[in-house]
């Protein structure tokens, strides 16, 4: 079922938790709400669930406006951050609870529960109480409980944050598979951009209650709307420089470092702007060939590449290099920039400046 969020706002006392958010989510899509803590992503999820009421705006499930529909009647499944399994019930009773509330005959609901116990591989846990389960097992039970009534929408509030790193990767793959298998519209809240990138069809990035960007993960990474999004996406932080136009090139603001002419940046209207260069878009070369010169501070192994931290004047930058040409600490290196992958932002607003290729 498709979901439409229309101009939603929510205030807590003086804090704008959600500020005029509008989004449309397609049927069967897995969308992640991503942002730093306090950005309003969980609040939005709770509004969708009906656990909070928005101050303004409308929510549509399909064609039905659900503003005034109570949580109990919204037919949603939800997995909470701490799972919220009922501590006084066994696993099986936890899973059966939603069907019991719908007064479905025991025989039918047991058949359904058995199916989910198989699907989530938790059959042998069915008679245990939640406090006898590990975090990962509780997670599965919580998912089973959320799915048993075949909800139209599945909401997940940071469901992986209480799991250890390895289990987190495994579980997110399983959630993705399960979601595709069931074709259920799913909204997943997380502050981990890695998790969001790996699992989502589309990511909605929020900051200070406002929507920053809503797009496919790859698109957001390559083509961020603004400085916040550019900084937030990507495991290794993007390098940001403040540039000022000179007569025959650019200088980095507040330094004596100059850059030669980069034609595509010349056309930008602003005399001063920010550029963002992802670590993989620097290329290490000899000092003579480089348009910038840096001094290596740190070399770290990261998978197949080395991550080099270097300084240009007093600016810290990072880039990847293949281990073959691995510079050492305090070496001078030259750097080239793949100019077609440079991102430019307005210095004051942080909005993206479009570069004509």
């Amino acid at each position: 079922m498709n979901i439409k969020i229309e101009n939603i706002s929510k205030n807590f006392k003086n804090i704008k938790a959600v500020d005029d958010l509008s989004v449309e989510i397609n049927d069967g899509e897995l969308v992640t709400f991503l942002g730093p803590s306090g950005c309003g992503k969980s609040t939005t999820l709770f509004i969708l669930a009906g656990l909070y009421t928005q101050d303004h705006g409308n929510i549509f499930f399909g064609n039905v406006k659900v503003n005034d529909l109570e949580t109990e009647k919204r037919n949603i499944g939800m997995v909470f951050q701490n799972y919220a399994l009922y501590p006084h019930m066994t696993v099986l009773k936890n899973i059966l609870f939603p069907l019991e509330m719908q007064k479905i005959p025991k025989k039918d609901s047991l058949a359904k529960a058995n199916e989910l116990l198989e699907l989530l591989k938790i059959r042998e846990l069915q008679d245990r109480k939640p406090n006898q389960l590990s975090g990962g097992q509780q997670q599965r039970v919580a998912i089973a409980r959320a799915l048993i009534k075949s909800p139209q929408v599945l909401l997940m509030d940071e469901p992986l944050s209480n799991l250890d790193a390895k289990l987190r990767v495994e579980t997110r793959e399983e959630i993705k598979k399960l979601q595709q298998h069931l074709g259920i519209t799913t909204i997943f809240v997380t502050h981990d951009q890695d998790e969001a990138a790996s699992i989502s069809d589309r990511i909605l990035i929020m900051n200070n209650g406002k929507l920053q960007q809503f797009d496919k993960p790859r698109q957001i990474y390559n083509n961020p709307n603004n400085l916040f999004t550019a900084k937030f996406m990507g495991n290794t932080p993007i390098n940001i420089f403040s540039l000022r136009k000179n007569l025959n090139g650019f200088s980095i603001t507040d330094t004596s470092i100059t850059l030669p002419e980069i034609p595509i940046l010349r056309d930008l209207g602003e005399p001063e702007f920010l550029i963002g260069i992802r670590p993989e878009h620097f290329e290490i070369c000899t000092v003579e060939d480089g348009i910038l010169v840096g001094i290596v501070e740190l070399v770290e192994m990261q998978g197949k590449d080395n991550l080099i931290t270097f300084s240009i004047g007093n600016l810290k930058c990072r880039c990847f290099s293949s281990p073959k040409l691995s510079p050492k600490t305090n070496d001078k290196i030259g750097l080239k920039i793949k100019s077609e992958s440079i991102l430019a932002f307005n210095k004051n607003t942080g909005d993206k400046l479009s570069i004509k290729m």
């Binding site: 949580t71 949603i76 919220a84 006084h88 509330m101 009534k149």
Partner: protein
């Protein structure tokens, strides 16, 4: 560090325990055993403290005494009238106080006032409330067209008057304890139950109640024991009388009467032993039943 179970360590430990132990033994433990012993005194010289004969005569006389049987009946009626009603009302009010309402703390304090006020003062005020001619209660009843009730004079109403007062008096403590229990229930269970389609009543009976069941159990045990021991309310409310025609004669009032008015120490001790056994039996039954409905984490 290895701890030696030597005589020296034992004696040092005893010295630490001594102050509390002396008081406890003198005023609690010794009287309990003394009362048990006294209940078997059959022939006894009170002035010289000489016991001529031990036996079960006190117990036999007790159960032959119509007043004792009446006291037993009245006490059971009182307990059944007070405990369940008090707990149900307390749960209801505690749930309201736990929800998002204005002036929560003010209400909490108002409800707790009866608990910190002395029984005597409370009973005095209620005597006025129950007054057949000038009482507040009859005034309110007259507003809805009900004739004045002789609350404290009519034996048919006196027990009801006593029960109403006692429910009101026990509310404060019970509400406070249950409210604490409710505040320990994580909001997420309630949210999860809403998601699972449970309406308010189901959320209470299936989620909240089981989660606060240890608290309810505690409150039910303490209220029950407290109610079996009712005395002060009767004594003041009916002006040093056990109600009209003994209609509010309770076990402890009976014991008091035998001990302090009639100087029948043997009978008083025997009655208190019977009361002890009744409370013990009912508490044990409660513990056994509790295994079925109380969920400990």
């Amino acid at each position: 560090m290895k701890r030696e179970h030597s005589l020296k360590n034992f004696l040092i430990g005893m010295i630490y325990l001594l102050p509390a132990l002396v008081i406890l033994v003198t005023f609690q433990i010794y009287p309990i055993f003394k009362a048990l012993l006294m209940s078997f005194y059959t022939k006894y010289n009170y002035f010289k403290h000489i016991v001529f004969e031990y036996g079960f005569d006190n117990y036999i006389n007790l159960f032959k005494d119509e007043k004792f049987i009446l006291a037993l009946q009245n006490t059971f009626i009182f307990v059944i009238g007070v405990v369940p009603a008090s707990i149900i009302i307390s749960i209801f009010i505690a749930t309201l106080l736990n929800s998002k309402i204005q002036f929560k703390n003010l209400f909490r304090n108002i409800y707790f006032l009866p608990f910190v006020t002395s029984t005597t003062a409370i009973a005095m005020v209620w005597r006025w409330i129950y007054h057949s001619q000038y009482g507040l209660l009859n005034y309110f009843l007259s507003l809805i067209g009900i004739d004045p009730i002789q609350w404290l004079i009519d034996p048919n109403w006196s027990m009801i008057a006593l029960i109403i007062l006692s429910i009101w008096k026990t509310l404060g403590y019970n509400i406070l304890i249950i409210l604490t229990g409710l505040q320990n229930v994580d909001e997420q269970y309630n949210n999860a139950a809403k998601i699972d389609g449970a309406k308010a009543w189901k959320r209470f009976t299936r989620i909240t109640f089981p989660l606060i069941s240890p608290t309810i159990f505690f409150v039910s045990i303490t209220s029950l024991i407290g109610s079996f021991k009712v005395f002060g309310e009767v004594y003041i409310l009916f002006d040093k009388m056990p109600g009209p025609l003994n209609s509010c004669l309770t076990m402890v009032y009976y014991i008091y009467d035998k001990l302090a008015v009639k100087y029948s120490y043997g009978m008083a001790s025997a009655a208190s032993v019977v009361l002890f056994l009744i409370i013990l039996a009912i508490t044990l039954i409660q513990f056994i039943i509790s295994k079925k409905w109380v969920h400990y984490k």
